[in-house]
Structure formats: structure tokens, C-alpha cells
Subunit: 201 residues, 2 copies
Amino acid sequence: MADDPPYIAQRPKRADGARNYDAILAAARKAFEAEGSDAALEDIAARAGVAIGTLYRHFPTRAALVEAATRDGLAHLIARAEGLADEDDPLAALTEWMDCAVHHISTFRGLVGILTQSMYDEGTPSHAACAAMHSSGADLLRAAQRAELIRPDLTADELFDLLSGAAWVRENARPGQDDGSERFLRLVLEGIVVHAPPPGR
Amino acid sequence: MADDPPYIAQRPKRADGARNYDAILAAARKAFEAEGSDAALEDIAARAGVAIGTLYRHFPTRAALVEAATRDGLAHLIARAEGLADEDDPLAALTEWMDCAVHHISTFRGLVGILTQSMYDEGTPSHAACAAMHSSGADLLRAAQRAELIRPDLTADELFDLLSGAAWVRENARPGQDDGSERFLRLVLEGIVVHAPPPGR
DNA sequence: ACCTGAACACCGTTCAAGT
DNA sequence: ACCTGAACACCGTTCAAGT
């Protein structure tokens, strides 16, 4: 009774297929950034110079297209966590990663929502990437907690709530204004760090 | 060159009009709560027992319908701020209000986004309500800052970023799970309160 | 194996006709 | 002043025909 696994787009091997696949992805990324995750698929196909059926052949659902469009970015984010694990200061490492994460999960309007859903819906194309991201973040969190730099009662789920809140604010920042998510994160951070005990103790 | 003011729905005086207006609003609230702010307008009309044209007559845009559906809730929130202004403990007052605000601005999926847009788009039906809400919150914030209970560098805009971040997390909480926005707010609060100086000073 | 585009469905929005 | 529902437009999605 296993529900079939989510569809993950694959780059075709045949030359014309690969070319179209790439063109669609490039057009999708551009459209998502400009119009958000609900950009018109017909426009994306048109801009990629393919018929609408071709888009559907490679990416049968919008979720599959979003997954493919954000795949590299999320992979980079996960790799970054590995790199930061060796850092001397685990709080600095966590902070740096959170900043990086906020940027990657809010590259276009609607992404945080999709990823948040994917976090707990296994039938979703982005679920695997989200799960990997979750465990990357959890590792950095645990390290900072072991060093007693982050309050011990903070769970990884709570960390991701804070992260997605910050990302949503960034996604929805008024166009002209600077985004305010750095400030948001810094304020949040003050709430989760272990405050130094009074001196002489 | 004044752009015309945003359309604000008014309850008609004629009996049949008023009846339909109420029925549409009731159906809309139910639909928004179940399906989010992009619920199908045709369904709402059908459930209210009116033709689609009647819905458009009373609420020419989706934004006008959302404004009307959330009008009472936001008015209540603003009144609550007035009441809390006389509180002894201005930090408790602010905390209580933030909790209340988070609940009101996340009654259905998509609301926070609409209200956030309305905050800085004057041509939007909910703009007036948002502006009133903003100044209500700013008053409570200033009181808490005068009492040196909230860090003095926190701006009202930043407070609303934190608020809408919390509301978004609540909106998007996984269905079964408890929403986690209380926890979110409590963590955020730790980041913005003035921490007691070491004793004996 | 991949591409095309017509066809269908769904839903938002308008408007002429009616009470 | 208000209501109705047909009409149109737009866009998502499928699929038969083609290379």
C-alpha cells in the first residue's frame, strides 16, 4: 500500500530534450523571481520557446518544476552546513547558516510556503531536500547547544519556525525598502542565545 | 491627480440586499477558513444562495470581500489596544495584545499576506484598518519602551515584522500539530525585552 | 523518446435583461 | 436599487498526431 514516490524531474539525455529542459528551467526561475511561485506556466513555456505540452512532459506538476528550479540552491545550502560544522565557534556557524538559509528559502514569493508544506508532506517533490535541510540545521543547532551557547530547550522544529518566519518577512518586504530579515534574525537570535550569567560567579 | 479611494463594501439598506450581503459574508468567512483567501468566488456565491453577479455587486474585488470579512475582527483588535493602554504593566499589555493580534491576522491562510501588502499600499481596501492597527500597536510599544521594559531601538515596523512572522507560522502550521505561534512569540519576546541588569547595581 | 498544439475544463469577471 | 445567469476571457491540463 505504498503511495508512489513524488515525481522528481530528470534532465533528459537526448540533445533536444536536454536543451528544452534547460530552457524551461531558466525561464521558470526568471518568472518565479518576477511573479512568484504561481507564475503562469504558459508564459514560462512561451519564454522558453517550447509548446506547453513539452513543459508538462518534463515537469508534470508545478511542484516538480519548483523543486527542479530550487534544487541547486538547496543542495548548496546543505553543503554549506557541512562546511560550517568544523567551525570553531558553533554559535557563529549556526548564525551564518541561518542567514544563508533565509536567503535560499525566500528567493521568490511563495517558496517558503511550498517548502514548509514539503517539510511534513512526504508525497511532495521537495520533501527530500527539506528533510536534508532540516537535519543539517539540527546538527548545527545541537553543536551550539552542546557548547551551551543556545538555550537547551529549543527544538529543531522551533528553529525552523523562526527561520521560515524570517524568510516570509523577507519574501514579503515592501519592494523599495531593504528587506529587514537580517534585523529580524538578529532579534530572534537574542531570544534563543544563552545570556551570559552576571559576572563574578 | 488623486487616485480614487479604495472600495469599501457597505451593507445595503433594502431588505433583500442586506440579506444577501450577510449571507455572502457568512459564506465567505466559512470558505476562507476552509480554503484560504483564494477560495473560489463561485462557490461562495453558491453557498450563499445568490448568483455570481450579486456577489460582485456587493464586493467588486476579492480584496473588498476580504476586508469586509475581517472588518469586525480588526476593529475588535484595535479596541483591545485602547483597553490595554490603561494596564499597570505595559509589558504585559503589549504581550497580551501581540498574542491577540497574531490570532486575528491569521484567521485564514493568506490573510497575513494581504494585510502586509495593505500596510503600505494605500489603494487597498484594508489599508485604513492596517494603519489603525499599526498605530495601536505602536502606542503599546512606546509605553513599554518608556517603562524601559522593551529595548529602545525596536521600531514599530520591526514589531510588525515579528508579529506577521508569527502569524504566518500560525497560518501555515501543520494541521494536526498545535500551532506553535505562542512559543514563537515567547521566543521573539525574549529577544526584544530589556534584560534585568545583574543584581546589586 | 520527444515535440506540438488543439481541445477541454475550470473559474474569474462583465453585462444585458429583468424585477 | 438590486438580482440573474449567459457570455467571454484566461489559464491549467490532457492527449492524439506527428518526428
